[in-house]
Amino acid sequence: MARTLAMFTDTSLCIGCRACQVACKQWNELGMEVPEWTGTYQNHAHFTDKTFRLVRFIEEPKPNGDMAWLLMSDVCKHCAEAGCLDACPTGAIYRTEFGTVDINQNTCNGCRYCVSSCPFGVVSFREDTGTARKCTFCNDRIHNGLGPACAKACPTESIQFGFRDELVAKAGKRVETLKAMGFKDAQLYGADSKGFLGGLNAFFLLLSKPATYNLPEDPKVPQRNVVTDSLLSIGSALIVGLGALLAFRGRGKGDGDA
């Protein structure tokens, strides 16, 4: 495997221009969608089959009563332990040599198990193609030595693309700088490869706790309980089977054979 690539989204630098969201749409030929009212400048409310990069506009009350903008360009996290990849029954969802997660549109069969297995609600079902869609990490671009379209378009370097180990080191320094500047809640989300989901290959620097951004504090791989659940099902089968066995072995009146 090649050296792991990553995207580091530093939300402290985001100005909410949505160049990333548009660049993503253009490059990946994701068609127009009817906008929806979300009560803020954000559109759409969540990832869709045609929105893979989404700038979140979050209003957070300040102690003095004013509102502060928290801007976050959200994307598929390309988890090191990916629930969608585990769920896929056709092998359409695969890990690339760069460590990112992509969906082969030719082998996806549209079962939608991945949609319910993403801890972040990223994977979306596209009706017209009947397949699951999500950010490809611009798989076509990175194979040609280009960064993802979103990172390329970002005017403030809020989205950075590079080797994961280098970006994590850079991100760590950035958190220290921000803390020194007074952003006491500045923190990395998904940078730790020993942390949840084995680390995220698209990780974030947040200015508030993850819940503020609608991100789970401690997401888990959905398939971690297959063995437990299966054993309990076998136990259930043994009990039910034994019940039936006793019922059928019990002799009724007038029954002489066995």
Partner: protein, 274 residues
């Protein structure tokens, strides 16, 4: 912000029929192997019932994909740790068992009977599997109602047993075959399964805790408490106990159990997707 997969009516029906087919088959296998010769009619009913149901299951699964030929993509790989992958394979293998068992159920030649019994002992493992894997599949997603308690598979299996047995007893009643003792034995096994299902359901709800909200309170609560717990389990149990001698009441109970089994799948899938 989690997403739901949009598994709606076709999958509800599939989960329900898969449970009935699995339950009917393993009940038949047990009756065939451990019951008397007079229970063979019960076994035949079970085998013959599971065959068309599992065929229907396969069709529903394929239809839900939108593009039917894409079902073949599932046959490219076998991921033994993935319920969706082994489930697709198991439907096919179980289908073969129900077919062979059904064919063999028409012969009373000793060698055929011996073969049928042995095959059914293996096939019954796939029956148990089909009845329960759909629950394990749901409980290994990111959605709290489906994944917070570890008993969805066990619950679906118990429901598959109670509905499979109810379906057999209903056919015995409709074909006028309630005179033999097979009827009483199936009803007895069904009562046992229903009591077990109630216990599993209670523990399941306790384990779910706050995640049970979509089914125990709100829009779907009347259907859950009334349709599943009441009409689907408690009422048929009461009918079976009170109307022990009245076979018509037993048949009514069987219909209610089947309705309850359907409501269980409906509520579990639709309460967070509708």
């Amino acid at each position: 912000m989690l997403k739901t997969p949009g598994w709606e009516m076709m999958i509800v029906v599939y989960f329900f029929l898969g449970g009935v087919a699995g339950g009917a088959y393993f009940t038949a296998a047990i009756a065939d192997n451990f019951g008397g010769t007079r229970d063979r009619y019960v076994a035949r009913v079970g085998y013959l019932l599971s065959l068309p149901l599992v065929a229907l299951c396969g069709l529903l699964l394929i239809a839900d994909l939108g593009v039917p030929s894409r079902f073949l993509n599932m046959m490219r790989v076998f991921k033994f740790w993935d319920p969706m992958s082994i489930g697709a394979w198991a439907v096919g293998v179980f289908g073969l068992f129900t077919f062979v068992s059904s064919v063999l159920s028409f012969s009373e030649a000793p060698s055929t009977v011996a073969l049928r019994r042995k095959l059914a002992l293996i096939g019954m493992l796939f029956g148990f599997f089909l009845a329960s894997y759909t629950g394990v599949l749901l409980s290994n997603t990111a959605l709290p109602l489906w994944s917070q308690a570890r008993l969805m598979g066990a619950l679906f299996l118990a429901s598959g047993a109670s509905t499979g047995m109810a379906a057999i007893s209903l056919i015995l009643f409709l074909t006028g075959a309630t005179a033999g003792e097979g009827w009483g034995k199936v009803k007895k096994a069904d009562r046992f399964s229903m009591v077990f299902e109630l216990i599993v359901l209670a523990v399941f709800l306790v384990l779910l805790g706050a995640a049970a909200k979509p089914i125990v309170s709100g829009h779907f609560a009347p259907l859950f408490w009334g349709g599943l717990v009441g009409i689907g389990l408690l009422v048929p149990l009461a009918l079976d106990v009170l109307g022990h001698r009245a076979k018509a009441l037993g048949a009514v109970a069987a219909v209610l159990v089947l309705a309850g089994g359907f409501v269980l799948r409906y509520v579990m899938l639709m309460s967070i997707q509708a």
